[in-house]
């Protein structure tokens, strides 16, 4: 091949854009995931009580911030403002709020073009559907995130022990930040269970790591609201 290069310009080093094997995630989430990111072609399930949706959005944020495309299926109550605050670019987020019975076909179609597809299956997932979607994700190098349990998930994340900061028992202040415990469990490289404590959302927005073990969660009380474990007021 003959090449002819313009010699007037100082040439910067050549940048090779190789396809990454793991999609990037926010720095606070890296210690939780094997390979420091979401494995392409894998399935990750997110479950647990309050905080699961925020964790899902935080997982999308890393990919979206570098230019990837994300899709969310069957989550009609998704709050896009929260997504934007965690770092998801709303111009590259596509939402299919009500796919109905054909949700598996919709997810399969989206796995073709999108880097991450998140879905909340409307009921029990048949093993045939699960296998087919896993195969499609692997083939296309896309990652499938599910809200709720998924039988073939390579990695399972669960949230627990939420503690809010910013409100107390007097009505002053406002919700500012929440501390969560995230546990991971999985197969293969993720076989070793991991645990991390995160601010999600963090006091300044976004998601950051939180130190140490939690204090007792909110105590039950009958009657008047208790002020314990409420954190600092505003």
């Amino acid at each position: 091949m003959d090449r002819h290069v313009d010699r007037h310009q100082v040439l910067p080093p050549i940048v090779t854009a190789a396809l990454p094997t793991a999609l990037p995630v926010l720095p606070a989430l890296r210690p939780l995931l094997p390979g420091n990111g979401l494995r392409r072609g894998g399935v990750v399930s997110v479950s647990g009580g309050p905080g699961a949706t925020s964790l899902l959005l935080a997982l999308l944020a890393g990919t979206s911030a570098v230019g990837g495309w994300c899709a969310v299926v069957n989550l009609p109550t998704l709050g896009p403002a929260a997504a934007a605050e965690l770092g998801v670019d709303l111009e590259r987020l596509v939402v299919v709020p009500s796919p109905g019975r054909r949700w598996a076909g919709v997810v399969a179609g989206l796995l073709d073009g999108f880097d991450v597809v998140a879905v909340r299956p409307p009921g029990r997932v048949g093993p045939g559907d699960a296998r087919r979607l896993l195969g499609r994700a692997r083939e296309r190098g896309a990652t499938l995130l599910t809200v709720g349990d998924w039988s073939g998930a390579g990695l399972r994340l669960s949230v627990s022990a939420p503690r809010w900061q910013g409100v107390g028992g007097e009505g002053r202040g406002r919700l500012r930040a929440r501390c969560l415990t995230v546990r991971t469990q999985g197969r293969g490289a993720a076989a070793q269970p991991r645990l991390a404590r995160l601010w999600l959302p963090a006091p300044g927005g976004g998601c950051t790591a939180a130190p140490a073990a939690p204090a007792a969660p909110f105590t039950e009380s009958g009657g008047r609201a208790a002020t314990t474990a409420a954190g600092t007021g505003s």
Binding site: M1, P12, W69, L90, V95, G171
Partner: protein, 511 residues
């Protein structure tokens, strides 16, 4: 199809090209399909067939080449010629653009010549029916002139451009929307803004659009004096006599050129595709585009060229090649430094966008166009107000303007779950009475128990509020009075409740 039928070729619900008959009724490139059908009720909508159009367009190109030496193709159906030319205005560059419609493929024919009006007539006659020709200084103005078939006096480009609206001319829909909202409706208004202010407000892309509106070239002329571009070539051994057998080499060439341009952070506006046969016959075709094309696009164009040349489409004076191809060469002409359009981690954005568009189109085929939505952030007070859900592909315009201050809006962090229809809830105090908010915006008693949608009661442990809102108090129909409250329950769940019409509702959950 009859020659006079209005027709348009559509891709992803946007008009790509249209026939002259459709153009007369106001249809043009970039228009949404529904809008085009509204403007022209008898419009025949055709699906894009790029390779067929390219092969058909070869015929037009051969006709044009009889008049001018170097024809540049912009896309199948659109070509531009620029010649230093025998012009009565010595040294002045003039471009002409024309529209041609035939069997569903529209075309612009841009050319520069001395006796412009005369040439327009001769070209139109030579190319055939439906050819619209326009003449102006510069390619952008010529393209607009071709929509109406006008000849613009040299130097009068700026006056010609002034009355055109910004919306469908600049080819930048977001910038156009922003300009219209700022009150800049026409290209003349846009051109009147100072260039430094435009650059700082809208960035380099806006500055380029500003240059177009002022009648200047998109990139400063000085940079175009680069004589040498970037060239990649490959020798084919044994000689290839069928286009598909050269497919692998074509792809490798296109990738190689793309990598080289990306590595040096250059953008090229013109690509020359060249093929040479054993006996020395040469085919050169120039393609012009806006920014560096994806390597798949370049590979596709090379295949069309080779296809049409080898199969002998059009009455080329050089005729079909009599021997196999031995050399393929790609040259990037008119390279300029890249000024901000970054390639992302996944390579050329064009390919990614195409993949995404195809996936979305498939889902829309399954569920309907309205099933795929995207969120546009906007103004408003409640969490449901601040987001406008728009159908994918529609313009992203918020329902309420984001720029207004909206006092009393829900502060960040925003809730991750927002109920489109608020869920009824019951929040009671220690004595079991439902909470109320007094006229002085105080709760009747601290909350103790919360039950959502008739479910189990959970103790409430922390709360903030109430925050009263009285929206549109002057409008009896649109008035909304409510009080919002954030409540944290014993299980750690936090919710946003609203008291409206004497009842409590869950508006959102901080999930």
């Amino acid at each position: 199809m009859q020659p006079g039928t209005p027709a348009a070729v559509v891709r992803a619900d946007r008009v790509l090209t249209c026939s002259a008959a459709a153009g007369e009724q106001g249809v043009h490139r970039g228009l949404h399909r529904r809008e085009a059908q509204r403007r022209c009720p008898g419009l025949v909508v055709l699906v894009e067939d790029p390779s067929g159009s390219a092969v058909a367009f070869e015929r037009v190109l051969t006709v044009v080449e009889r008049f001018v030496p170097a024809v540049e193709v912009i896309r199948p159906g659109v070509c531009a010629c620029r010649s230093a030319g025998v012009s009565r205005y010595a040294g002045r560059r003039r471009s002409k653009a024309g529209d041609r419609s035939g069997d569903g493929s529209g075309g612009h024919l841009a050319e520069e010549y001395g006796n412009d009006v005369d040439l327009a007539g001769r070209l139109a006659a030579a190319v055939g029916h439906g050819c619209r020709v326009g003449i102006a200084d510069g390619l952008f103005a010529a393209g607009l002139a071709a929509r109406r078939g006008l000849v613009v006096q040299p130097g009068a480009t700026r006056e010609f451009l002034a009355p055109w609206p910004v919306r469908d001319t600049l080819g930048r829909p977001e910038l156009a929307d922003l300009l219209v909202r700022l009150g800049v409706d026409t290209l003349g208004d846009f051109a009147a803004l100072p260039p430094g202010a435009v650059l700082s407000r809208f960035g380099p892309d806006g500055a380029r659009a500003h240059r177009l509106a002022r009648g200047l070239e998109e990139r400063p002329l000085a940079l175009r004096q680069r004589a040498d571009g970037l060239t990649v070539s490959v020798e084919l051994d044994p000689p290839v006599d069928r286009a598909d057998r050269a497919a692998f080499a074509v792809k490798a060439l296109a990738d190689g050129l793309h990598e080289r341009l990306a590595a040096h952070r250059l953008v090229c506006t013109r690509v020359a595709i060249e093929a040479v046969t054993e006996r020395g016959e040469r085919l050169v075709r120039l393609w012009r585009q806006d920014g560096t094309p994806a390597s798949s696009t370049v590979a596709e164009r090379m295949r069309w060229q080779l296809d049409s040349w080898i199969s002998g489409a059009g009455d080329r004076s050089s005729g079909r090649p009599t021997s196999g191809l031995v050399l393929l060469r790609l040259t990037a002409d008119e390279v300029t430094p890249d000024d901000g359009h970054q390639l992302d981690l996944w390579g050329a954005t064009n390919e990614t966008d195409e993949r995404v568009a195809r996936a979305v189109a498939r889902v829309q085929g399954m569920l309907g166009v309205d099933a795929v939505t995207t969120a546009v952030p906007g103004g408003g007070r409640g969490p449901a107000d601040r987001i406008t859900w728009t159908v994918w592909g529609e313009p992203r315009v918020p329902r309420l303007p984001e720029s207004a201050p909206w006092p009393g809006h829900i502060p960040s962090p925003s809730p991750a779950t927002v109920h489109g229809e608020p869920v009824p809830a019951e929040i009671t105090d220690g004595d079991g009475l439902v909470l109320a908010v007094s006229g002085r915006h105080a709760l009747s008693a601290p909350p103790a128990w919360l039950s959502v949608a008739g479910g189990r009661r959970v103790p409430a442990v922390a709360w903030a509020g109430p925050w009263p809102v009285d929206e549109r108090w002057w409008d009896p129909a649109g008035r909304r009075r409510l009080a919002r409250l954030q409540v944290v329950t014993a299980d750690g769940a936090a919710r946003l409740l609203a008291l409206r019409g004497g009842r409590w509702w869950v508006e959102a959950e901080y999930d």
